[in-house]
Amino acid sequence: MTILDARNISKRYGGLAALTDVDMTVSAGEFVAIIGPNGAGKSTLLNVFTGLVVPDSGAVLLAGNDVTRHATNRRIKAGLGRTFQHGRTFPRLTVLENVMVGAAICPTLGERALRESALQIIEQMGLADIADNAIRTLSYGHRRMVELARAVACNPKVLLLDEPAAGLNSAEVAQLVKRLAHLREKHQLAVVLIEHNMGMVMRLAERIVVLNFGSKIAEGAPAEIQANPAVLSAYLGEGYAHARV
């Protein structure tokens, strides 16, 4: 069943075509990765999904409903969740409070239930030790985990992650991969992952979408993408097909 369906999305910034006629669908529970060089339009596509950018043409359907003109908060309530490329948390709130802001998407939860459900997610994300800490005292890796926990607390059907591994050390990346796999299993959510770390993409993604200069140049299973000559020359580099990850 298709949950997220973007059709013919185009977006120009002045003379620059950030996205040209991009189609993309995500099915329930599916793990899709978006790869491509810097400036390819990956973040812009997430912005179109989440309503931060209104496309010049095209439509975004969420669970079959056209949400192209809907405000961001409505789309989140309808099942989208997102983290940002540079990590965005609420610095004046603690870790627990950050996640509680996410959990508050459920209007019927009382203060105690909110706390409980936030604590559960914090536990899953391995943040229990620092639940009461101020964001200011956290490492960058922890902040990004808090942001992810907050997005998960919003109970999304599709989780959109913009380069979640950027700036993390290799131990943190390994942990992130583990957590993402676990989250999917536990919450049955679909994930759209923008990532340059190809090891991570190959381990997690069931399908890969490749963007270049705002256009989709390839789409398919990881093995197909790895062998696709257009992708190799645009992004992965000629030597990639032989270097196993």
């Binding site: 989440t50 908060n73 989140i76 997102r82 965005r88 004046r92 101020a134 964001i135 005292t137």
Partner: protein, 324 residues
Amino acid sequence: MRILRSFGLALCILAAGGVLSLVLPEYHLRLLNLSVVASIAVIGLNIAFGYVGLISLGHAAFVGLGAYIMAISTTRLGLSPWLAMPAAVAATAAFAVAIGLPLLRLKGHYLALATLGLNVSFVIVASNWLEMTGGTNGIAQIPSFSILHHAISDERSFLWLALVSLTLVVVVATLLHHSRYGRALISVRDDELAAEMTGIDTTRLKIMGFAFSAAYAAFAGCLFASHVRFISPEDFSYAHSINYLAMLIVGGEGTIVGAILGSVLLTFLPEWLRFLGNAYLALFGLLVFLVLVFLPTGIVGLRKFVRGPSRVDRSVQAAAEVRP
């Protein structure tokens, strides 16, 4: 825990006020009353500015609107102050929603300027709508509140009314702060996009915060009107709005204790320094400047010199870091 601590604060306010009401001379009681009323307005401003980050230079207009509705409905319509007050608070909040819809599309400096304009317009209307407001002559003989035929008209009994009101306001503000709405308000100032990304309707929330802040202001306005029993447009000029903002920043924005400390300090300071005449303004400017430079979290920030930084202090410092 923190909620309990704030209830403790409320009790402290009552106890301290009780003692002061016995020992202070009349003149100081009057100042204390003015500062308690100002505290209520500034706690309201803290919701708009300290939590949501809406830079309002028009807070005095809401104080004035509340005061005028109270004054007009008690003197003209003969309404009891107990009925006039909730009506004034509700009407002012409704006005804030109506004006907030277009106004809160603006951000930062533009919003500051627009709210300043609102304040100036308010004073112009209050000065010129003679039939309604009495113009610059103001409205006199506003009735005091009374309980069981005892009029709360002398400074000592008014202090009790003011302190009970302040306690109530502190409790409500604390409950708000630690509720889902409080966290949502704070998150909007910290990062509006990220807040929207958790399903918060940030536009609606800003209007709600603005209206709540205006309701506090109107409440303070009603108390002010029944305290001084005479109001005129210059009681609510934009200079007062700037003063409220200074009280909040000097005391410590984002915190309820800071709002109270700042209000008390900046009400008494000009009186203590009255001998300076106009030079006071220069000193006042210097004081605000020094606080901004050396105590960016306001005088509540002094706490960290007394004890080691507590968890609350750290979050207050974090607040200072994100100050635009």
